[in-house]
């Protein structure tokens, strides 16, 4: 079944909201005990260090408190979450025809194999807890670029590299859900780009959570070595269930000297999802991290990608859009640590709220005493589409050097009736006029995305705008 993604007119919720019975998959019991963690570790054939790492993380998880400073996570009962669901396939494949039919159909409907043929250098596809497909173009592999799942990489020639980087940027002690991730993580991708290599077209990993009441805990570890360049795209979605699902992934990005990495995400979790995700990058001298982040789905999100500018002249650019509709409380933003001289950061975000949705932008910029000559600019704009929605901006700045150039700008507004009438006077319906204005508002992100993802993002806006009238 092929879905046409080209025309903005042709979308409906069914595009993401479909599911398959998971009767033939393997699951652990719900809840979090030492036994369950050991069972997952056995299933995954972990090396000893990893098994110990998981158990230690579990202890940290139990010792830490739930966050109380952000959106409510009361609806999330960890005793009811299944932390590991293995799809009905024994291993990861490199050809789509080998992937089981229902899983293959899922990714076909999401347009992944098609994008792979047309515009990607490599694709990883995760279904529930495990990667089911991973492949990279020959010419990319020939440059020495490694793109595979973390589990197999952990046992191969990159074993030491993984051990010395895994959860070093985001230690399990960081917060309760980082600890949870350390205990139950499964799936995700490992990317290594060797010195000087440049991947011209993007790699993409897509995460699909199909099972009801389950959690997804993929770990993405990317190392871009000296002078190398990469664009990585992460996509995620899930069908809607009446029970809570949990996503607590972890992304660790190491950007070497004079290297650059663009990390793009279009997140469209269903509205029963708790998205408690942690992303962090460390950038060395002269390196550059670019985040492009679109948050549309989930019931509750806590998401603040963090950039540590560790080397002189390191740069960070963060571009984000968050769209909170009915029943959604999305707390998103970013954190930047300027830890070396002459580092720069540039943050540009948009948040949209409608039908009672709550959208909070939270940022922290820390300029240490070592970061003389650094520059930071933060700009966030919010659009509220009605009187019952809410938008908050919570920027924090901690500047510890006298020589830094820091700017912040925040704006909150509404759709102007004049603009709606102008567009309607040309024949657009009120709904289309509003959707067009909102898409334009979010253009800072869509223009940073490859064309087809920009189209997908505008589709998401259009889906969200349906029924926004009246």
């Amino acid at each position: 079944m092929k879905q046409d993604k080209t025309y903005v007119e042709d979308v409906n919720r069914a595009f993401y909201d479909f599911r398959y019975e998971d009767g033939d998959s393997y699951k652990v019991e719900s809840g979090l005990t030492r036994e369950i963690i050991e069972q997952i570790s056995r299933e995954k054939n972990d090396p000893d260090w990893m098994r110990e790492f998981r158990l230690r993380s579990l202890e940290i998880f139990h010792a830490m408190k739930m966050p109380v400073w952000g959106p409510s996570v009361e609806g999330l009962d960890m005793d009811n979450i299944v932390t590991y669901v293995r799809p009905n396939t024994e291993r990861m494949h490199t050809k789509w025809e080998d992937v089981p039919q229902n899983i293959k159909d899922t990714f076909e409907r999401l347009g992944i194999p098609q994008s792979e043929r047309e515009s990607l250098a490599g694709v990883g596809a995760q279904y529930d807890s495990e990667l089911v497909y991973h492949n990279v173009r020959k010419e990319v592999a020939e440059q020495g670029v490694v793109y595979t799942d973390l589990e197999s990489a952990m046992r191969g020639e990159y074993a030491d590299m993984i051990r010395s980087h895994f959860m070093k940027l985001v230690p399990p002690t960081d917060h309760k859900f980082a600890a949870l991730h350390g205990a139950v993580w499964s799936g995700g991708s490992f990317v290594y780009v060797p010195p000087g290599a440049s991947v011209e077209i993007p790699l993409q990993s897509y995460f699909r959570l199909n099972a009801a009441g389950a959690g997804q805990f993929e770990h993405t570890l990317i190392i871009v070595d000296k002078g190398a360049h990469l664009h990585f795209i992460e996509g995620c979605s899930a069908p809607k269930y009446n029970v809570a699902n949990l996503h607590a992934g972890c992304v660790e990005l190491y950007v070497g000297e004079d290297a650059s990495l663009r990390y793009s995400t279009i997140e469209n979790w269903s509205k029963n999802m708790y998205n408690l995700n942690t992303k962090r990058a460390r950038v060395e001298k002269g390196g550059r991290i670019e985040w492009v982040s679109g948050s549309f789905g989930s019931h509750v999100s806590y998401l603040y990608p963090m950039s540590i500018l560790a080397g002189e002249g390191a740069q960070c650019e963060f571009t984000g859009v968050t769209f909170a509709g009915e029943g959604q409380d999305l707390d998103t933003g970013c954190k930047i640590v300027h830890g070396a001289p002459d580092t720069t950061s540039h943050v540009n975000t948009r948040s949209i709220s409608k039908s009672g949705g709550v959208s909070t932008f939270r940022s922290a910029v820390v300029v240490t005493e070592k970061a003389a000559g650094s520059k930071s600019s933060v700009s966030c704009q919010s659009l509220m589409l009605d009187d019952i929605s809410r938008s908050d901006t919570i920027p924090a700045m901690d500047v510890r050097t006298g020589r830094a150039d820091i700017g912040h700008e925040a704006r909150i507004g509404r759709i102007s009736d004049e603009a709606v009438f102008y567009l309607m006077s040309r024949g657009l319906s009120e709904e289309d006029a509003r959707a067009l204005i909102v898409s334009g508002f979010a253009e800072n992100v869509s223009k940073e995305l490859p064309l087809e993802y920009a189209v997908e993002m505008n589709n998401l806006i259009r889906i969200e705008m349906k029924g926004a009238i009246g």
């Binding site: 102008y422 006077s425 024949g427 067009l436």
Partner: protein, 255 residues
């Protein structure tokens, strides 16, 4: 006189609870160009907005018919789809869509048909040339960062490409320099080449009318049409201003 296209009967229109039009009637036939002149604050833009269906105006009395159909309950987009067009005095900036793509999607929504991108692009180029606009405007976001004059030209561009049955031009000439007025009026003449196309030109300045065919001129003052006639009213206004028409004793002027 052409067959009737638009008829306004005794319109009373308010904005923010203040009555602005106090019983305006107007009849425009197919292929006719009507001019509305009047001093600032006379209610000219209110009339334009009420005809187009701007929700910030409330029609408290009277009726509007377009091709025999009453417009009262139709939204602006439904009116546009039936062939009405309004060139705005202050066009709105809309980031996120290019001028060309916007006009194309508006046309597609009106006709329900897909338009071939390349053929349409050729048309756009030609009209840009007529209006002495740089070709790059086609790719620029709708009105974003356009100067006042460019915005007005872009309105005329939209009119020419959308091809409405009746175009209402609300002070399209205001704020334009002499050359720009000439260019815009060239564009309007282009529109008049279609013998069934009708125009309602709202202005308080005669310059834009010099090279246009004009079938009727109405003077609007204090929310009422105080005089109607032919082209000869234009020099009368130019020479004497609106003062003589504002005299309540004068119901008719010219012949």
């Amino acid at each position: 006189m052409g067959t009737e296209l638009l008829r306004a009967e005794d319109l009373y229109v308010s904005a923010e609870d203040r009555e602005i039009l106090h019983g305006v009637s107007l009849r425009i036939g197919r292929g006719e160009t009507h001019v509305i002149m009047g001093p600032n604050g006379a209610g000219k833009s209110t009339l334009a907005g009420a005809l187009m269906g701007d929700p910030s105006y409330e029609v408290t009395g009277g009726r509007i018919f377009f091709e025999g159909e009453e417009l009262q309950d139709l939204s602006a987009s439904e009116r546009a789809r039936r062939g009405l067009f309004l060139s705005f005095q202050n066009p709105v900036e809309v980031p996120g869509i290019s001028l060309e793509n916007f006009i194309r999607s508006a046309l597609e929504q009106r006709t329900g048909k897909k338009i071939r991108i390349w053929e349409f692009r050729k048309q756009v180029r030609k009209v840009l040339e007529t209006l002495q606009m740089d070709q790059s405007y086609a790719e620029r976001d709708l009105n974003v960062g356009f100067s006042g004059g460019e915005k007005k030209k872009a309105e005329i561009l939209q009119m020419l490409l959308l091809g409405p049955a009746l175009a209402i031009l609300d002070e399209t000439d205001s704020g334009l320099d002499v050359d720009a007025v000439r260019t815009v009026s060239q564009g309007i003449r282009e529109f008049q080449k279609d013998k069934s196309a009708s125009l309602l030109v709202i202005t308080h300045n005669a310059a834009i009318l010099n090279s246009l065919e004009v079938d009727a001129v109405h003077i609007l003052a204090d929310g009422r049409i105080v005089a109607s006639g032919g082209r000869e009213l234009i020099p009368a206004v130019e020479e004497e201003g609106f003062a003589r028409f504002e005299d309540p004793q004068r119901e008719e002027a010219g012949a």
